[in-house]
């Protein structure tokens, strides 16, 4: 008797958790074709847009100088990507991005963790962080160029400053938002501070850290483009600015596509990372 009922309860709960959709579906379940619907509509919308653009460009309502058509842009893109100039540009911009963003992670993440963990360190750094975070970091470029020259290092510096703050601040917020009930449980089992840091603070701040990394990518890309617009020797951003000032409009678009593509790829990689750490969140 005393064992039958509880098992009954377990079975009941199993049934309840086995079906992820607890609420009865009000609509008919989607058919296989219908589940592609969002994707299909998205693609169709882009295709229609491109076709319309191409038609407008071919009709030459606006001169090519102002609005090249999609085919012109593809031609320019292929020409740019296959040129020897592109190899140097891509390597330069890629290097700036990798070093600047990498440094922002290497410095911002531990600093955010330490600031979250040691209140006094937060008090020390708070005024600087407030100052820099409310200054558009791009405004520091003239200064950075004086200090680091027009080579890659002024860009590395502006990218670093752009990505560092979102990463550090989000990590800090993650450590600060510890769940009090978890903390109490850990203390009750005699956890040391180091154990609490390792088993609660660190894993608990992962979602925040990932948000910081994603925001950081956006800021880093702004750093690459604007940094190179202002002063540079090589780089995709510089190529775009040069093309702009020489009225190679299609090439401007081509560079834009490359930069946007880099951003999309980085965001996708980060999303993958997020999903890996998020396995425990029910979908």
């Amino acid at each position: 008797m005393s064992t039958r009922t509880p098992q009954g309860e377990v079975a009941f709960e199993v049934a309840a958790t086995a079906e992820p959709e607890a609420q009865p579906a009000l609509r008919r379940p989607r058919s296989r074709v219908a589940s592609f619907e969002p994707w299909l509509i998205g693609v169709a919308s882009v295709v229609v847009f491109l076709v319309a653009w191409q038609l407008v460009a071919m009709a030459r309502v606006v001169p090519e100088l102002f609005l090249p058509g999609p085919t012109d842009i593809v031609t320019a893109l292929v020409a740019y990507v296959t040129s020897s100039e592109f190899a140097i540009d891509a390597a330069t911009s890629g290097q700036e991005l990798a070093i600047g963003y990498g440094l922002a992670i290497v410095v911002g993440l531990p600093l955010g963790l330490l600031m979250g963990w040691y209140r006094r360190l937060q008090y020390v750094l708070d005024p600087f962080i407030s100052f820099f975070y409310s200054t558009p970091r791009i405004a520091l470029l003239p200064l950075l160029i004086i200090w680091f020259g027009i080579g890659i290092w002024s860009k590395v510096a502006v990218i670093f400053l752009g990505a560092f703050f979102p990463i550090a601040i989000n990590t800090f917020a993650g450590v600060r938002s510890l769940d009090a009930t978890l903390l109490k449980a850990a203390r009750s089992f005699g956890a040391s501070d180091a154990q609490i840091f390792r088993t609660i603070a660190l894993p608990g701040s992962v979602p925040f850290i990932l948000t910081g990394l994603r925001l950081g990518v956006g800021h880093a890309l702004i750093g690459v483009v604007v940094g190179e617009l202002v002063a540079a020797q090589h780089g995709v951003g510089l190529a775009m600015s040069t093309a702009g000032s020489t009225f190679q409009t299609a090439k401007v678009f081509a560079a834009l596509i490359i930069i946007a593509g880099a951003g999309v790829i980085l965001q996708i990689l980060l999303q993958r990372l997020e999903r890996r750490f998020d396995a425990w969140r029910p979908r």
Binding site: S2, G8, T17, T181, A186, R187, G190
Partner: protein, 269 residues
Amino acid sequence: MDGQRTAVKLSARNVRVHYWRERSDEPLLALDGVTLDVHEGEFVSIVGPSGCGKTTFLNALDGLLPISSGSLVIDGRPVTGPGRDRAMVFQQPSLLPWRSVLGNVMYGMELERQLSRREMRERAREHIRLVGLEGFEDAYPLELSGGMQQRVNLARALATDPVMLLLDEPFAALDAQTREFMQLELLRIWRQTRKTAIFITHDIKEAIYLADRVVVFTARPGRVKEEIDVDLARPRELRIKRDPRFLAYEDRVWTLIEEEGTMARAAAR
């Protein structure tokens, strides 16, 4: 309690606890001289009007809250902080959401650092079986119902092999039916492990159903108002709650708590 009392596991003498509230210059007296003995293998429920300090008492027992005066001795050793001889089952499941059931049950043992990883895993599996969650080792807490989460909470505490199990309203957040089943389950598990248990609850039926002895606290500042031995044979089935003897116990406890409520209200006026 069947016949002879066993050795004293917990001995509380005149325990007073103050604590500081935010935006207040005066400490609040939560417990004012609690004296209580709990014997080995005994199941004691503590009930009392809301805010009477039952949870404060349990936190002090667990070593999470210092006592201001008196003495609190477990197994001959005064309580100075959290220790391996006690384990708490919390009102909220307090599980690490990013760890599986297995990882969560191992967590308490992991923090206490007494066993190898292999031993911890083995003990964890054993206790997952004991609380009836076999097959859910790899599930994450958010995939479980409230009742199942509390089973994990219980398994985590039991797996550390404490001398004394402290339960802080563990079923308070569950729905009425799940709650009844969990009471039955707790008694089955307790019978198998024979831990000394102290159970805090608001629910008088629950207190009587589970316990060998029900301790009624006064309104704040809390003291022991009365102790009532529950002389109902074990194992107890849920239907014992409709037994006239059970109802007589319930009536007695209710009367005591009502008295406290009336006095507290009169004092507040």
